[in-house]
Amino acid sequence: MVSRMAAKKKTIRTIPQQRTPPREQDPQVRARNFEEVNCGYRPEDALREADRCLLCPDQPCVRGCPVSIDIPAFIERISAKNYRAAYDVITDTNLLPAVCGRVCPQESQCEGVCTVGKSLEPVAIGRLERFIGDMAITEGWANIPYIEPSGFKVGIVGSGPAGMACAADMAKAGCEVTVFEAFHQAGGVLKYGIPDFRLPNSVVDAEIDKLVRLGIRFECNTLVGRLFTIEQMIGEMGFHAVFIGTGAGYPSFMGIPGESLNGVLSANELLTRCNLMHAREFPSYDTPLQPGRQVAVIGAGNTAMDAMRVCLRLGADKVHCIYRRSAAEAPARAEELHHAVEEGIEFHWLTSPVEILADGKGGVRGLKCVQMELGEPDASGRPRPVPVPGSEFEFDADMVVFAIGTNANPIIGQTSKLALDRRGYITTDESLATSIAGVFAGGDIVTGAATVIEAMGAGRRAARSMRAYLGLRDTNVVYRDGADGIRPKLFGIDLEEHDFALVRLPRPSGDNTPGQPVSTRPGATGTP
């Protein structure tokens, strides 16, 4: 198959011109249920879409991916119907394909730079990744490599995407990894934040199960900082290295009148009640959530889209999106915005709330807003919205949800001597090392609110630095035999290695899939 394709070179004219649409629930139906909106590709869809990849030598998509998945390689294996091999390629660098295929903002990453995308719609890389991730869950695939224990103990604070990615890499490097989570369930924002219709919690659990099979221990109900401190972890508790991926969390409000009215809440609270605590199944579950009939959600990021669509599904008659900039500046993932429009969310662009109006009984009666217009670019490079004088107007709402971003969570700062920046985020150097030796940090608690895949990328970057700190060899680098002749080798071992505990040998024959190392005991190849 592969050779046939190589023989007949694909060009932009020969590939299917249209991007293969995924099967989706009808907007009218899905706006009232919590089933997944995007039902994913069937094999025939995946094959057709895989055929759209030119397998171009430039591979801009790989550079566009925060974790550098070898995208053409896995697509090529899909075309060859070798789905398991495609899974192996992805899991070389990304342990959670079913999650990332769903929640990555592909349009600004891999798909945004796709060669096909220059003339046609880009290859639907995210959907293909999800196709493979879902198949792995159904088929029960998991790539559990042979792991040589390194004797190091690593502690991870927070079980969200950053923590999970770091944990996976450190476990593969032979470390004994424990992940601490304050909630009663692991998964972080993937569980409490992203709703089931976008990322089912069962998918998150399936991915976590793979981490457990790598030997990672999850300790829930553990509030690091208060139950024990970061300093205690690297001191008396005997962790050789610690990664902090606690996320940003602390939701922002605007400070406008009426914010403490009942019926005003953060998107985090709404989503946590609904997703993690199952308030939508009240009274079978005990956590309540007063549903709004007319909901105004402030903000236009992914969290805002999730909050709006959750409100619809909880039975709201009308859901408004209030955003002070225009649609072009909305930070949400394109697909989410598109889905929200389809489901009938009413968008008020260039609108900013000035007051939440009380109903006299402690609740919300409406929202007073002002029209905005775009002015000069601000620090973020986006045009700064400025209020139009005298343009105030009111509309009815009984629930107001703030989804305008988050500030740094203060707990780690309160309880450790880690250096923080002015805004309370953890200060790190390039390698994500913090001011305490052996302690690394990444994700939202370093950068401020970002995306799942960026947090995963940070987790992996921290893991690399952590291995260097511990003197472990980098198991992510695939050491092939000296055929390339570039790096000096001794007995087939890369001389840049400073630790010979784990040696990867080239596979004897066939598919030179990276990440399938044959490990040998130290000494088997002789130490210099």
């Binding site: 509030l223 609270e269 079978s284 005990d286 956590t287 959530l289 402690g362 309160q414």
Partner: protein, 302 residues
């Protein structure tokens, strides 16, 4: 039991009923017992489908490795706990200690005021002040004599103890604010006052100390979900600022807290809570005979 190596399953090792609504649970969690300080709280889930409720730590015992909670059965979850949390059973989850510990400073003479359920959480503060060498005046208030508990514990760590009951069946007749007035009348050199209890009682205490300018610390108990600063449900107005009780508190300056706002926000989920409580009460009535009938054979098989 004092095996610090055994991980916690949130096992209840002691249960004591103070009245038909108030009960005490002592939960095995050596790590938390070691970390807990006065003024902190935990979040518990009674069962997997339960809600997360914040409860102030009423005591901790580092030797026994336990955390003590005193609970008033008022809503669905706390009533379910009253029914189900027996010695030897386990909670589904307990996380903590949460919140910034109370600052036990250099105060030489302090008032520790507890009203109703607040009596239990003010105890570790009274003890901590006593340990710091302060002169401690305890003021505890109950509706009547039958609801009283922990009198001996307080006597052991207070230099003076003023008991107040609504009906005068024990101590002085009146609210804890009456006790505060008496204490202030008898001592002109009180440095600090700690008041814990229902919001309306803490508001009263703050007003009682305001004229004499005694620094008054209150411990706030708004609605929470995660308790880690993530949901913002527990935001409270303190002076000009909005703070999250879970990570910026739970202790705040009582003279600056907007109690009316707090009381309003505590009613956010009243309708759902009342519905759940009513349903729970119905369920109990319906289930009771079934439980009684099933209990025999089940026990026999175990």
């Amino acid at each position: 039991m004092a095996d610090p190596g055994r991980p916690s399953r949130f096992e209840i090792v002691t249960r004591e009923d103070f009245s038909n609504v108030t009960f005490l649970l002592e939960i095995y969690h050596p790590m938390m017992a070691k970390a807990a300080k006065a003024g902190q709280f935990v979040i518990v889930m009674e069962q997997a489908q339960g809600e997360r409720i914040p409860l102030t730590i009423a005591d901790y015992d580092r030797q026994r490795g336990t955390i003590t909670l005193v609970i008033q059965a008022v809503g669905k979850t706390t009533r379910a706990m009253q029914q189900n949390c027996q010695r030897g059973t386990c909670l589904h989850a307990m996380v903590g200690p949460m919140g910034i510990p109370s600052h036990i400073g250099q105060a030489r003479k302090v008032l520790c005021v507890g009203g109703g359920l607040g009596v239990a959480p003010v105890y570790p503060q009274a003890r901590a002040y006593k340990d710091s060498g302060a002169y401690v005046i305890g003021i505890v208030g109950f509706r009547n004599k039958d609801l009283m508990f922990w009198e001996q514990r307080f006597r052991a760590c207070c230099d003076e103890l003023i008991v107040c009951t609504d009906d005068g069946s024990a101590g002085i007749k009146g609210l804890v604010t009456e006790g505060i007035r008496q204490a202030i009348g008898g001592h002109s050199d009180i440095d600090e006052c700690v008041a814990i209890g229902p919001p309306v009682m803490m508001k009263g205490c703050a007003e009682a100390t305001r004229p004499s300018g005694i620094r008054t610390i209150v411990s706030l108990n708004p609605v929470m979900v995660d308790g880690t600063g993530m949901c913002g449900g527990c935001r409270v107005k303190v002076g000009e600022r909005v703070m999250f009780a879970c990570v910026d508190g739970p202790d705040f300056d009582g003279h600056k807290v907007d109690f009316d706002d707090l009381m309003f926000r505590l009613k956010r989920y009243n309708a759902s809570e009342q519905a759940a409580s009513a349903r729970f009460a119905d369920g109990c009535r319906m289930r009771d005979p079934v439980i009684a009938a099933a209990a025999g054979p089940q026990n026999a098989t175990q």
